[in-house]
């Protein structure tokens, strides 16, 4: 399968995503330059972390208008897989591919830490290789990761099983201490109505080798392969 990793001028996790796909997953990956209009036949698009345009004004606000995003949005609307990680999540929300918004962390500080996320639904395109309730150790690194949306949107997400990951403690409880940014209902990741767009603040691409602390992120990428293979 072919993964397209979008490189915005200020992306800085594109490299990590690229290596996770090629080295760990052993799949093909290409970088997609933000000024191009060509997805180069990618099956899966990754909007990587970073500071796409310095994240001035609002994280992701400017990036969503770059040329490549027209193609990415079309790709998503056609039902094809798109993953927005961290800054990519913010861009996906700004672009309307996912509901809600990501605001400044409630404690107002950038937070870099290994957090635990609980798998809330294991039958999505991105989590079918996990079990519901699995606790994953994945790093977060962001200043604007507090997920917000109107109560009815939040209820909708929950009722439709579109909340994929929540911040939890080592025992799996959704305590507020386990919530690194004040996200509503401890939400760490959601999928779109069609289930083909995933947005999450934690960095699965940074959790693909025990050498650097965790390999819990690998199965997320494997899930996509499994589903498409099936």
């Amino acid at each position: 399968m072919k993964f397209g990793v979008v490189t915005f001028p200020g992306s800085n996790c594109d490299y990590d995503a690229f290596h996770a796909i090629t080295e760990i997953l052993g799949e093909e990956a290409v970088y997609l330059w933000h000024k191009d209009h060509d997805l180069q036949g990618s099956d899966v698009i990754i909007l990587p972390g970073g500071f796409s345009y310095g994240d001035y004004l609002r994280a992701g606000a400017i990036a969503r208008f770059s040329p490549i995003m027209q193609e990415v949005i079309a790709h998503a609307r056609s039902g094809a897989p798109v993953i927005g990680i961290c800054n990519g999540f913010q861009i996906a929300c700004e672009a309307g591919l996912l509901p809600g918004a990501l605001m400044r962390n409630s404690h107002l500080q950038f937070v870099s830490a290994q957090v635990i996320v609980r798998v809330e639904s294991a039958d999505t395109l991105f989590t079918n290789r996990y079990e519901r309730g699995d606790l994953l150790r994945i790093p977060v690194a962001h200043g604007e990761g507090r997920y917000v949306a109107s109560p009815d949107v939040l209820d909708g997400l929950e009722n439709e099983g579109r909340v994929v990951f929540r911040y939890a403690d080592a025992k799996g409880n959704l305590s507020s201490d386990a919530n690194p940014n004040g996200s509503e209902r401890n939400i760490a990741g959601i999928v779109s109505e069609g289930g083909n767009v995933l947005g999450m603040m934690p960095h699965p691409e940074r959790a693909c080798s025990p050498l650097v602390g965790s390999s819990d992120g690998i199965r997320l990428f494997e899930s996509i392969l499994a589903r498409v293979a099936a």
């Binding site: 001028p9 200020g10 800085n12 996790c13 490299y15 990590d16 290596h19 996770a20 972390g49 970073g50 500071f51 345009y53 310095g54 994240d55 001035y56 994280a59 992701g60 961290c86 800054n87 999540f89 913010q90 990501l102 400044r104 107002l108 500080q109 950038f110 937070v111 870099s112 830490a113 790093p139 690194a141 962001h142 200043g143 604007e144 990761g145 080592a170 603040m201 960095h203 691409e205 940074r206 693909c208 080798s209 050498l211 650097v212 602390g213």
Partner: protein, 768 residues
């Protein structure tokens, strides 16, 4: 030589103006002699920047020359933007440390941020991709709200800039001491990775080659930052406040990618950042290194504001700018690469055969100096050096004459006091704001003895750390200088790395004061001794003098940035106890030295006594023995004894990794006749706490190396306390109390302060 006339509208050169530019009468006469005439205003500005301490090293150069700089693997020593060492496999590491003390004292957030930006550029202009940032910070007491404000602002500035550019900040040190109250130290270090063949030097070459200004436009900010960095902090710097620079990490990221692409493209011959003294020093330094002449037309420099004078354009310290010497005819190719990254490039001059440094404003010459003498002919001083009698007296005072406090009967009380001393306590409050995992090379991040980064495509890793105990250097500069290097070496060795080379940042007071210059000379001498003994040459660094707030100099603080190499990923070793039942061993000798200790400072508010002895042969032997044991695969953890001595080191081995805290049973009762406080909190050097599954093997390795090594206990992962048998009592320390003291202190101090919500720290932080 062209005929240079004063520029209409420029102020006339008066003694007052000369003084304002920080030039002494003698220096002015030197300038006139060099020119054979009176300088123009523009020329005066250029010289005041180039002859400032920061750029000229006029007080430090002769002393720096005494440092060892060579080893077979050193590819680039001092003299370039960064030092470079080979790590095999055709790969090399570029690294450099630099200070941004004075700007940070005035505007902590921007001061620290632009400090990070500057050192990043020094590294990627060598052709290296930055892979890690470190820092070394000094502040006054956190009880002072201004200090908390500076601390919060600096940490946020360091974090936001590195986070945005996407370079992990992986290690550093933070020390709090009254001596830094009015003059914090902010040193930033950058480490980069490159292919040996991509190494490029900032050396102008090739007559006729175009000189191109790249990156951000030139504004009026930071004019005379270089000379600003060379003055005492005082009202004078207040007046310069509006001159502070603002950093733009986003542009820096573009500049980083564009520069690396330029270097690979082969279209350029040299590249250098416009750092201190901006266009002036970058162009002059490149011309000098290449021993060629240059001519620059300021009207071609892209400016942010209209009506900027040549003086302003030459001295502006606007950030995120580079100077490039391209190959003639490749201008468009260069421009193309920059356009791709939305950056501008403007040809502003060229390399010429005539040995002059010439600046024109359109057709008119506004400044001209004879060739490279501009850089080489700067003044050089060796001021008087005399040790202060007061400090000598302090050193000779007997630490054991300091009476114990009644509370000390309970050693747990003392241990908790030390663990919660901000200098010793966990710095997670700060490094949680640093992205330490981006680029996924970080095997050991902040919190360990040293940070460890794997080198992709090899089975190797590097270990990096910054270190300096200014209190030791204050009490005995020679010994303190040695210890700074030895401790840094020990720290990287604890992770399994062979110490390779250092960069250094010499933070001292006003060198024209004899007691300060004595400290400088002696500390550098001590560093040199240690570097020779440990085989870690100096590849570069930076000098920051005049670190004084009215009246008082900061502790002399020669910060060492050490790089070590791990040949096999399997050798990577952590600081905390790992396996239940492991034997706990102590490498090195118990000398019970309390002089200059954290114990005296924290518990008794005393800074006195001779700092611990630093036996460099022993240091080397201990490091070698430790590395042999690690390579033998029998070491589960290794942690060196530093601030707070063995007691604090053992506590850290148990609770530093809070999620995986575990206990241990330790027996130190063998050191009879040594007071508890000396056993527990003495800071004798060359000591390392090791846990191992095969004590016999480790003891045997130590024996062969002639290093004393003793079994002092057993790891008890399931126990809820650290138990230490002392000569005349038993210390039973519940892990929860140790953990609370160590982990909760700084967060609770910082949460009771409003300062960390001041708005300059609420400036853009975004996601990642």
């Amino acid at each position: 030589m062209a005929h240079v006339l004063p520029r209409p509208g420029d102020p006339a050169i008066t003694p007052a103006l000369v003084a304002e530019h920080g030039l002494t009468k003698a220096e002015y006469e030197r300038l006139v002699a060099m020119l054979g005439r009176a300088p123009t205003f523009t020329e005066l500005g250029i010289i005041s920047a180039l002859w400032s301490e920061h750029c000229s090293y006029k007080h430090s150069r002769p002393v720096l020359k005494t440092l060892p700089t060579e080893a077979p693997y050193v590819l680039q020593g001092p003299g370039e933007n960064a030092g470079v060492i080979s790590i095999g496999d055709g790969l090399a590491i570029a690294f450099k440390i630099e200070s941004h003390n004075h700007p940070s004292a005035v505007e902590p957030y921007q001061g620290a941020a632009t400090g990070v930006g500057g050192i990043l550029r020094d590294v990627f202009t060598m052709g290296a991709r930055p892979i890690a940032m470190l820092n070394s910070l000094r502040f006054g007491s956190l009880d002072n709200s201004r200090v908390r404000y500076l601390f919060a602002g600096v940490v946020k500035g360091v974090g936001d800039y590195g986070n945005c550019v996407g370079i992990p900040t992986v290690a550093g040190e933070i020390v709090f001491d009254k001596s830094y109250e009015g003059n914090p130290l902010v040193n930033a270090m950058c480490v980069g990775l490159l292919h040996e063949d991509d190494l490029i030097r900032a050396k102008a070459e090739g007559v006729g080659n175009p000189i191109i200004a790249v990156g951000a436009r030139t504004g009026r900010d930071g004019i005379h930052g270089a000379s600003f960095a060379s003055e005492d902090l005082s009202e004078a710097s207040d007046a310069k406040r509006p001159r502070i620079q603002v950093g733009d990490p986003f542009t820096e990221k573009l500049l980083l990618e564009a520069s690396l692409e330029l270097i690979k493209s082969g279209h350029i011959v040299a590249i250098q950042d416009m750092g201190a003294a901006g266009l002036t020093s970058s162009s002059a330094e490149m011309a000098e290194r290449g021993d060629v002449g240059v001519t620059i037309d300021v009207t071609r420099v892209p400016t942010r504001e209209s009506g900027m004078s040549p003086y302003e354009i030459l001295l502006s310290e606007s950030q995120e700018r580079m100077l490039v010497v391209a190959k003639k005819g490749h201008e468009d190719a260069v421009r193309e690469i920059l356009v791709k990254w939305d950056l501008t490039a403007a040809v502003i001059g060229q390399v010429i055969a005539e040995p002059v440094y010439r600046v024109t404003e359109g057709a008119t010459v506004v400044a001209e100096f004879p060739g490279s003498r501009l850089v080489t002919d700067c003044p050089s001083y060796s001021p008087e050096a005399r040790e202060s009698d007061a400090i000598k007296a302090l050193r000779n005072a007997d630490p054991f004459a300091v009476a114990e406090r009644p509370e000390e009967k309970d050693s747990l009380w003392t241990l908790e006091q030390l663990l919660s001393a901000p200098t010793i306590a966990s710095k997670a409050w700060a490094y949680r704001q640093y992205d330490s995992t981006v680029r996924t090379n970080t095997v050991i991040g902040p919190g360990g003895d040293a940070a460890v980064l794997r080198i992709r495509g090899t089975n190797k890793a590097i270990a990096v750390k910054t270190d300096c105990n200014g209190r030791y250097v204050y009490l005995d500069p020679r010994v303190g200088g040695r210890i700074a290097v030895a401790e840094a070496a020990r720290n990287v060795a604890c992770t399994g790395a062979r110490p390779m080379a250092i960069t250094n940042c010499l933070n001292f007071g006003n060198p024209t004061r004899p007691e300060v210059f004595y400290q400088f000379r002696e500390a550098v001498a001590g560093m040199g001794e240690a570097c020779r003994a440990l085989g870690t040459p100096v590849t570069g660094g930076n000098v920051s003098l005049y670190n004084e707030s009215p009246g008082r100099a900061v502790y002399p603080t020669p910060v060492i940035g050490m790089v070590g190499l791990i040949d096999d990923l399997a050798h990577i070793t952590r600081a905390t106890f790992q396996r239940d039942g492991d034997a706990v061993l102590l490498f090195g000798e118990m000398r019970g030295e309390l002089g200059g200790s954290e114990y005296l400072a924290t518990i008794h508010d005393q800074v006195l006594g001779a700092p611990p002895e630093c036996d460099l042969d022993l240091e080397k032997a201990v490091i070698d023995a430790l590395l042999e044991a690690i390579r033998a695969g029998v070491v589960s953890s290794a942690h060196d004894c530093s601030d707070g001595g063995l007691g604090v080191a053992l506590a850290e081995c148990c609770v530093a990794d809070r999620e995986n805290a575990g206990g241990a049973d330790i027996d130190l009762s063998g050191w009879r006749g040594m007071p508890n406080r000396a056993v527990l909190f003495g800071e004798s050097q060359a000591r390392i706490v090791v846990s191992t599954s095969d004590p016999a093997r480790v003891l045997e390795i130590a024996k062969r190396a002639g290093v004393s090594c003793a079994r002092i206990g057993t790891v008890r992962r399931k126990s809820d306390s650290l138990t230490i048998k002392l000569p005349d009592s038993v210390l039973k320390a519940p892990l929860v109390r140790l953990a609370r003291a160590f982990h909760d202190t700084i967060p609770s101090i910082m949460s009771r302060t409003p300062e960390h919500t001041t708005f300059d720290e609420l400036t853009q932080v975004a996601a990642h």
